[in-house]
Symmetry: C2
Subunit: 945 residues, 2 copies
């Protein structure tokens, strides 16, 4: 039979810090602290397996549980020298959850368990503090009746009719009656009477008496913790944090110690370093004569731990109790030294005796995560790989986004709070429709789109806005999903807003805000402010910690990172952010300019091949100029240019008036143009006449584009600009499609090279964005020199999802957990992943040195980047603003999946055996950390091409 | 060095009949006939490998070729006792193509090779027939200058300026000059002069003299044959017949014998059995004093071989030359006995001596193919498996389609000819637009749609028509593709038609045909007739050969065949045609009826779940009735019912007027309805809110449909009708989608069974129609009891092709050979096939007894049926009219891929070991052909469920 209960206390422990999966984070660390000789109240942990067993077996405990709990409880009693339920020397317990991953505030806790009519007198005698005991008792009743008797029992009271509310009313009534302002103004007698009144009300409302048996209370607490694991709040949290339901929670039952036994008692929460700035200083707060929850609840303002942080009238722990402070600071250093990370600790001083109640890795914001990682690495506290894994790519995002200036924010007028759906800060003028957003933005105005909720039709307007604010919706609402995808600031579910779109205004708490007025959003916190509040625009180059971390990342990663960019300006920006090339240059964006689109339209209405060719060739100088600018910007770096992809109807108007005007312009009859427009109409344009299907049916398009590329390349090369064009044929499903286009492109290449008397090196490859392309990648690789996975389209066809149309069902799919996440945000590794992996393997089976990348939007999603690394891609390509995150995620991937590196090494080995040998002679040492520069260079050359 | 040239003659041969790949069909059979002791003029075959080598090596022959040809030629000279180029005793040669598969008329032939100014006198002396020699000479010049000097040289003259035309003009001029009516009226002197004039003109036009050297002529002939392999006609033919370009052609060089050396000479073509009816009688024709091409060309009417076939004034070979007839008939019997098939033979009698020039398996129509296969099987000439393989599924089609009555056709007035794009016969009234076709058809009229060409917008009208006739387009034009897909009669490329759509008329040869007038099409031949010509509607039950063949097929096949049917009437029809169940019942077809669609629309505009449920539940009685009728029709057979699949916007109108009317009807504002319609609009409906996505977001739909199915099943079962419902959830991409719907369906099933107090056996499964479903089939099979591959949608998503939109590029893809065939017609085994095969393997890895079928339109395509068999499907399902073809193709698959049978046997073994044992005891014999009935029953039970 497996062990269900793990004891800890008195310097001993059944478990240790490595057993987080079984004991939860809290339980494992309580055991570990015991083993480190740190004073911790004795207790025991019921394992996560018990929770899993409980839910798998129709909510039944394992047979051995009760026996093991009793045995562990006896040890606790011995360690603490008290008896649970003992009338004379009673032991009180806390019952807390403890999952593998921290889920702060999502689950339940019961304190003061073991207080009964029998044990109260003994505790009064022992503590000499009647008021303290009755206060603890009334707290226990409130907590227990709410959490165990109501919530865990599945009782759903009407709003404001919950037992907690009712008991709070009794408390308020009592306070009013005796003229007390604060809870602390109530006397022991008041609290005793109140406890009795509570018990009567509990019986009335819930139909059962509050249990007067210590063990019954303890088991009730255990049940409540397990029940809260499947509570709605916890489930929602896990979905967002991607914590599996199957992990379960442990339960920690621990002897209570009290920070509220008078002025020599206190309780506090601290971080071993500053979690906001990352500075290496002890950072925390404590409250004299208080229980831990008082600190967290924020009812009283706590005092700082450090003397130097004292504000006026505050007394730091350092000053109040130097002995306790020294003991605590020693523990802080001991813990950091042991765990090699910043820790979040909870402590209680009971009548001058220090107890540690909790220690766990501390949460931190992006700025501090980066600083701590770099400082710990620099002081050799952790190695470079560990430093890299310490920062979440999403935290890096915080450093990249504008944020509300904290000084300005303190003075700003907060008008509402909502859910922080998209991080960062934004300020702009209020608009109420997507159309208005587009129109105002087109005039150069910065707008914030305010809606009850958004829908797919709003997408263009959302994109044009600085930020989005909605009155309805949760973290997976349309607005939230879309905004996060774009890295855009967004607050949703801001229920206080009463929006009147027709009247172009909203009101909040009685105040009205009209279209055009300014507001400011802090999307990281979910706060809405009146007016324009100053924003901090991050200047990464000034952040030395960021630079150090990225330098480490760039040394560690084996996969290249490119950017998707369609213009010289974008390309320059991408390069500054660290991009090592262009992974996707979409040429169609160059077709929409007013001058150019006319030629496109002439081509569309051309009646024969000659006219069509003539019209198309008008675009040549424009395209050549575009490519020249991009080549200049990317001097020495590869540029992947995708040939025309969208269906031609995207270039024609749809409204009758526009058609008439265009017909006049093109000198054809309206009827003729209308016929052509109708002819181009497609039922499913996503699956229609686009991609290479265009180039095959209208070869002149490909010819013109190829010519523009090679002429631009030749001109640049003559000016000593190093060009590495990679021509990419889109939407290939059959190798013959690629062969057809390849023939044409290579012919044009040869022509241009002959005309210009210059040799241009280039690659010719294809997008892999259709399932059939992945399935027949072995054939396609016969013609393609590189693959670039177009995971946007591949997701559409693999799932049969039109990204434009999923708004009607995807939110429901996510809320019903039919899909774990939006597959357009993060690669569906289970399904799509198979096609990608198959495509790469089959492709490389044909062409071992096939270069493989990704250019879908997944290229900027950290989880997807790790996947790309694992399946052996040479690079990812993403929007310029995601480049630093992709660079960083690639480094994390290399650290967490070094086998991939080995794979690359093997390839590099084959490719360059001589270089390797030379290196070997020069530097016989083998340690990876000490790779000589030459070897690194070889590796890089082989991998990041 | 591999042998390039194979000699045959005089009872000896280097090759034999088994070497068709190397020697081509003709060459292999010439060798074989020699080995059989049949008199064949000596000759040699240049292998197909030489052709392949020629095209692979920049049109160069292998080094050894000339030497080998010379050696073989020497043998031929010895065998025939003549010398090639010998002035006194000249040998003449024919040079003919000979591919592995017959390509009649597609490639070139040169006869009389070796006639030069040197050899002419010798041949005149030898034959004693000057006229014959000069006639042969002028024919050689015409043929050679056309085929070798012009075509093979790649010269493309202007229309009517080709050398052949020019020489024909000279011939006509000569005839006019001397007052000759027929070529045969020209004298030896005329022909001699004409030959000289020909040579002058050849030099003038082509710039080179006609070669006067025997060997040069021979090599010219060889070159022309190879060149014709890559001629446009041959390439087109191969594409249609699916013959690979890589096969190449052989060249047969053979001693000439002459049927035109006077009245004791003749030449003929015969079939060992009647190729039109299949009757076992010698069937053929011959011409006295003629060359073989005269028979084929149809200039003179030939006489029959058999006495009993003589028409007035005809003299059969049997009567004219009983000795030659007996010899020929003996050869006929010898050949049939040797090849065990009906053969097509060519012979020449040169001055009473019989020579066989060719023998090959004879082409036959569907009716005769079936009869011959069955009669040969019944007379134990061939075994059952061979009999099954003798009939092409497409030939079976001929027996199933209406055809123009041959007697009536003879009297009918033919007005035009076109390409036979869709076989069968049809008669109907002329219409000129797709809309008119739909409108007239809706009124119960039979119409034939006449268009210059069709486009995807015409599809509905094409479907409503009896047949389609176009003035433009080829065998792969839109009309041809679509019509063949439907098994609809169609003639395309009927260039004689001058169509005036606006005037609603067409004219042909000056005569005008107006809308509403009748025409009749013979789509098998490509003939258009005036008026209504009687059609023969096939009555399969009267065709005893068909019945015998199908009985054999049904015994042989291991895979089941079901039909796609949506109503009781369809189901009954399908059952009569041999369907063993319904593989796809599309429930949405039941929603479009006027009464019902109102409820659907109420559902669509419902503002809350209650109203939506109420509206949906109005459909329950209708659906229950539909299912009851289908269950009744399929008593004892399984019925797979697919839940609602199409997007809801298919049920709403689009025109403003219709919307206004509907709004009034639904008692909501037009604006409200318009908003809802807009909301439902999708950019890519194919990838939108449909399939199980509907059932998940509107669970009441699934609930209603499940209830209708189970209530109908319960009611039927109470009436002792055996129901086997299989409920199919469409468009599943993730197992969670299926789980969601499964929960709901099983709950309803339990409810209905409890209400009706009856137990209903049913299966619950899913369509596999998205790549992701195939990729994750192992997970989906955890919930699905059966898979049905929806290869229509799977083709759309795997290729990224919208079937509605491919019209703009697919024809070009087929003509450019980018795709070998339309993937919607025949399963793309290379790409899609991987997903299917993977889906089955993964599914069965999870659930070994998973039932697997296909319900896309590919289920009726013979090649696809064979594929389905090979990958281990339990059944295919297709349109009722394709059921016999599918049954037959399944039998052919079992015969040609018995390993699949073994796989099934293994499964059956595991499933029913007891039954197997019992059988073993009862019948210890092992031969497959004598499987005892009990075993067969077991096998069938295991496979055709």
């Amino acid at each position: 039979m497996t062990q269900s209960v793990y004891y800890f206390g008195d310097g001993k422990a059944d478990g240790d810090g490595s057993m987080k999966e079984l004991l939860g984070g809290k339980g494992a660390n309580l055991a570990e602290m015991n083993l480190l000789g740190i004073p911790v109240p004795a207790g025991f942990t019921i394992t996560t397996e018990v929770c899993t067993h409980y839910y798998k077996n129709n909510r039944k405990y394992p047979a051995n549980l009760e026996k093991e709990v009793n045995a562990a409880l006896a040890k606790v009693e011995r360690a603490m020298g008290r008896g649970f339920g003992d009338p004379k020397n009673p032991l009180l317990l806390s019952v807390r959850s403890g999952a593998r991953a921290s889920m702060p505030g999502m689950m339940e806790t019961i304190l003061n368990v073991g207080l009964t009519t029998k044990t109260i007198p003994g505790l009064i005698a022992q503590s000499g503090n009647e008021r303290f005991v009755y206060d603890a008792y009334r707290r226990l009743i409130m907590m227990y009746s709410d959490v165990v008797m109501e919530k865990a029992a599945g009782i759903e009271p009407k709003e404001d009719q919950g037992i907690r509310k009712q008991l709070e009313h009794l408390l308020e009534a009592r306070k009013a009656k005796v003229g007390a302002k604060l809870d602390t103004d109530l006397s022991a007698a008041d609290l005793q009477e109140l406890s009795e009144a509570f018990k009567v009300r509990v019986k009335q409302v819930l139909g059962k008496p509050f249990p007067d048996d210590a063990k019954e209370q303890m088991w009730g607490g255990v049940l409540a913790v397990f029940a809260s694991w499947m509570g709605k709040r916890a489930i929602d949290y896990r979905r967002i944090e991607r914590i599996p339901d199957e992990w379960g929670t442990a339960v920690n039952v621990q002897a209570m110690v009290f920070g509220n036994l008078g002025d020599t008692s206190s309780t506090g929460v601290a971080f071993t370093r500053n979690p906001a700035t990352g500075e290496n200083e002890f950072y925390g707060e404590y409250l004299v004569n208080a229980q831990g929850e008082d600190v967290v609840a924020g009812i009283r303002t706590p005092d700082p731990i450090l003397k130097k942080r004292e504000a006026k009238g505050q007394v730091s722990l350092e000053r109040r109790s130097p002995k306790n402070f020294k003991q605590l600071n020693d523990i802080r250093l001991k813990l950091e030294n042991h765990f090699r990370d910043m820790l979040d600790i909870e402590f209680t001083i009971e009548q001058d005796r220090l107890w540690m109640l909790q220690c766990r890795v501390g949460k931190r914001n992006g700025v501090s995560a980066v600083r701590m990682a770099v400082e710990m690495m620099n002081s050799r506290f952790i190695d470079a790989k560990t430093a890299l894994m310490r920062v979440k790519p999403s935290q890096l995002n915080e450093l990249l986004l504008p944020s509300v200036n904290p000084v300005a924010e303190r003075k700003a007028r907060k008008i509402a709070e909502g859910l922080p759906a998209g991080p960062g800060g934004a300020t702009g003028q209020i608009v109420f429709t997507a159309d208005a957003a587009e129109q105002w933005a087109a005039k150069g105005k910065k707008v914030i789109l305010v809606r009850a909720e958004t829908s797919p039709e709003d997408v263009a307007g959302m994109h044009a806005s600085e930020a989005i604010l909605t009155a309805k919706g949760g973290m997976t609402s349309h607005a939230a999903l879309v905004a996060r995808g774009w890295g855009k600031c967004c607050i949703v579910g801001c229920g206080a807003l009463a929006i009147d779109s027709h009247g172009k205004k909203f009101s909040v708490n009685g105040k009205v805000y009209k279209e055009g007025e300014y507001i400011t959003l802090n999307g990281t916190a979910g706060f809405v402010y009146e007016g324009q509040v100053a924003l901090d625009i991050p200047d990464l180059q000034k952040n030395k910690y960021y630079r150090a971390l990225m330098a480490t990342a760039n040394k560690s990663r084996t996969m290249g990172v490119r950017a998707n960019a369609d213009s010289g300006a974008d390309a320059r920006n991408a390069r500054e952010l660290g991009a090592e090339g262009i992974g996707l240059c979409r040429t169609e964006h160059m077709f929409f300019d007013a001058q150019r689109i006319k030629a496109v339209r002439e081509m569309i209405v051309a009646k024969n091949d000659d006219d069509r060719r003539k019209a198309i060739m008008k675009l040549l100088p424009f395209q050549r100029k575009d490519f020249t600018e991009i080549f200049e910007a990317m001097h020495g770096l590869p540029v992947t240019i995708r040939l025309l992809d969208p269906p031609l109807h995207e270039f024609t108007p749809n409204e009758p008036a526009q058609i008439a005007a265009l017909a006049k312009d093109l000198k054809i009859s309206t009827r003729e143009l209308q016929d052509r427009v109708n002819q181009l109409h497609e039922l499913n344009p996503m699956l229609g006449h686009r991609g290479c299907r265009l180039g095959i049916t209208y070869p002149a398009i490909t010819e013109m584009q190829a010519r523009a590329i090679f002429e631009a390349a030749a001109n640049c090369q003559k000016r000593r600009i190093k060009v590495l064009p990679e021509i990419m044929v889109p939407l290939v499903g059959h190798v013959n499609e690629l062969s057809d286009q390849e023939k044409l492109i290579r012919r044009v290449a040869d022509e241009v090279m002959a005309e210009k008397k210059i040799k241009i090196s280039y690659l010719l490859g294809t997008m892999i964005e259709l399932p059939r392309a992945a399935l027949t990648a072995n054939q396609i690789a016969q013609r393609a020199e590189f693959f670039s996975f177009g995971t946007n389209d591949l997701t559409q066809t693999t799932f049969g999802f039109s990204r434009d149309d999923i708004g009607t069902f995807l939110p429901e799919y996510l809320s019903k957990k039919i899909l774990p996440e939006d597959p357009f945000q993060s690669i569906d590794q289970e399904g799509l992943g198979q096609l990608i992996s198959m495509g790469i393997q089959k492709g490389r089976a044909t062409r071992p040195n096939l270069k493989v990348g990704i250019c879908g939007e997944h290229g900027g999603d950290p989880a997807s980047v790790v996947f790309c690394h694992k399946v052996g891609m040479n690079y990812v390509s993403c929007s310029p603003f995601r480049v630093p995150i992709a660079l960083f995620a690639a480094a994390q991937a290399a650290v967490s999946h070094p086998s991939q590196e080995d794979h690359h090494m093997a390839t590099a080995k084959k490719a360059a055996p001589k270089a390797k040998k030379a290196v070997k002679k020069a530097a016989p040492k083998k340690k990876a950390a000490k790779k000589p520069a030459a070897k690194k260079a070889t590796k890089k050359a082989a991998k990041k091409k």
